[in-house]
Amino acid sequence: MSAELTEVRAARFLNWNVAIIALTVIVLIVAAATVDSFGTSQNFGFLVLDLLPIALVALPMTLVIVTGEIDLSVASTLGLSSAVMGYLWNANQPIESIIPLCLLLGAVLGAVNGLFVTVLGLPSLAVTIGTLALYRGLAFVVLGDSAVADFPAVYTDWVTGTIGGTSIPDVLIIIVVLAVVFGVVLHATPIGRAVFAVGAGEQAARFAGVRPGRLKFWLYVASGLISGLAGVLWTLRYSSARADNGAGLELAVVAAVLLGGVSIFGGKGALPGVIAGVVLLGSLQNALRLSDVSNEALNVVTGVLLIVSVLAPNLARSVLQRRRT
């Protein structure tokens, strides 16, 4: 009994979710104190804009990974959404119909992933590596290597602008609203309970009346939809629709989610931790750049953080288990 108790205590101590939030706060404080102009309101705006796509896509990705699956096609969905947006804009379609179409497109692309994973029962890793290539390829087919610009200033200004006279970026509203929605769904609804259940044990979840296939399908749709939205916002932010927009973003998103304490094996994770992971990665990047640290170092930091975030809890667990058996 006492062994069990120490274990519980150790587990609480090693709670990655708490650790990552604490680490993020520390990084923010240290950065604000030591890096010139990190703490300015303008820089805050830049930081939020830089974080925007990763933060958005990380939300559904968290749910997908908690169910034990993965979606590597998000960045390509973003790119295809952006390319189609540019194509339609060039074709003189009204932006008010382009944007919902792009969101719809994202949802459809997500549904394709979902069908492959749930109906055919294929491993999501392989499926989404396939659609990663497919969707990005289609984006190039749609728009080639060209860029479409001149999106209406009302929209682009809104995306890059701030709320009223404050220095709070407009897009922060979108992030906050969606983060709350996904957080509530994951942590305070029957759907969220089912998400954790499927990730912790798909079979047992089925025996408790959960339909894992249906659940995963809709999570992929959500992932596609949000990626499509991220594509629209990306396009408006840079006022440039390009097929290669967001290339490679999936790695940053997965890194942020895992860094946020979500288990790659599924069943474990919390949204606040993921948000902290996103902020940690973003602010670290921002602060290092302001300190003239090269991009290269950043790559190394991201990679190491990614490995450590998965390694640390595993090592802790296996040390505990070794003591147990």
Binding site: L120, L122, A126, L134
Partner: protein, 339 residues
């Protein structure tokens, strides 16, 4: 059921399926080549074939390494970065000591890759971290190290010894050295996987990790071994890359992992391990390279290439699943629990 009506000995249906699988790629290749050649007969010229084979050589070496890892139910996404690091290492080495014999360069390249493989393998083995995450991380880290080291510098063809560049272009009986080397790698790996105990143990691990452990197979050591092979071959591919292209910067091989995984999956290696051959993986590499070449010749928008690669991956895994379901239905006579 009773034991009396056991199946009579017959040709293994699984073997047949695998044969069919590789045959499918060959047919696809033949059709592709035929169509392209009809539209432009120069597609089958010596130079053109040589170009395709040279392109395939690098991808095939990577794909062979990847196949070894995938067969053990793992994945190595860091190969593109490892290729870059190795290419830059040997480039720098050759800049400083141009007289180095090619064989030494090859060994150095493979060694650089092997070290990366050890890191990957050890993290997977001892850290209990899924290979996907580990190699995603090392993809970043290795590339970062290369950038760090290379900075903005680029190694140009004129800085490399001509002996080395000749190695990239010279031929024996019309077959380029690089292609011969790739074939050598393919044959050796293929034979080891098929005809040696170690090779069979890799399949066993991928087929059922739990049973492998119970059968006394040193799963951890073999896992590290598989990653070392994949790393070493990625390093070797880095040398081939340097010899073929002559221009090396820190970005060499960026994004290669996608093509490599595609080649392996299209070549019929099951993503969940246990089945598939390096021959299939090499055929997959040949198919992808030929597609890229054909698109240029057929004047189909180059941009279709990536979409086609993606489509092929989905097609391949989808078809494999359907075939597997059918075969399983044929083989299975009873017993289907919820799994």
């Amino acid at each position: 059921m009773t034991a009396v009506d056991l199946p009579a000995p017959r040709r293994s249906s699984l073997d047949v399926v695998l044969k069919v699988r590789e045959l499918g790629i060959v047919i696809a290749l033949a059709v592709l080549v035929a169509v392209t050649t009809i539209s432009n007969p120069r597609f089958l010229s010596g130079q053109s074939i040589r170009d395709i084979l040279l392109g395939t050589a690098i991808l095939a070496v990577l794909a062979v390494g990847q196949a070894v890892v995938v067969i053990t139910r793992n994945i190595d996404l860091s190969v593109g970065s490892v290729l870059g690091l190795s290419a830059f290492t040997v480039g720098t080495l050759l800049q400083n000591s141009p007289r180095l014999p090619v064989i030494v360069v090859l060994v150095v390249g493979a060694a650089v890759g092997a070290v990366c493989g050890v890191v990957n393998g050890a993290l997977v083995r001892f850290g209990n971290v899924p290979a996907l995450v580990v190699t995603l991380g090392t993809l970043y880290v290795v590339r970062g190290i290369t950038y760090f080291w290379a900075g903005g510098s680029q190694i140009n063809a004129d800085e490399l010894p001509s002996g080395f560049l000749d190695f990239g272009n010279a031929t024996v009986l019309g077959i380029p050295y690089l292609v011969l080397l790739a074939i050598l790698v393919l044959v050796v790996t293929g034979v080891v996987l098929r005809n040696y105990r170690t090779g069979r143990e890799l399949y066993a691990m991928g087929s059922s990790p739990q049973a492998a452990r119970l059968a006394g197979i040193p799963v951890g050591r073999r896992t590290i071994g598989a990653f070392v092979v994949s790393g070493a071959l990625a390093g070797l591919a880095g040398v081939l890359f340097a010899a073929r292209f002559g221009t090396i910067d820190a970005a060499a091989g960026t994004g290669y992992e996608l093509n490599v995984v595609a080649a392996v999956v299209v070549g019929g290696v099951a993503v969940f391990g246990g089945s598939g051959t390096v021959w299939g993986a090499a055929l997959g590499a040949l198919l992808l390279t030929t597609i890229a070449s054909s698109l240029a010749v057929l004047e189909i928008n180059q941009f279709w290439q990536q979409a086609i690669v993606g489509g092929l991956i989905l097609l391949a895994i989808g078809a494999d699943r359907l075939v597997a379901v059918r075969v399983a239905a044929g083989l299975k006579k009873r017993g289907s629990h919820v799994s």
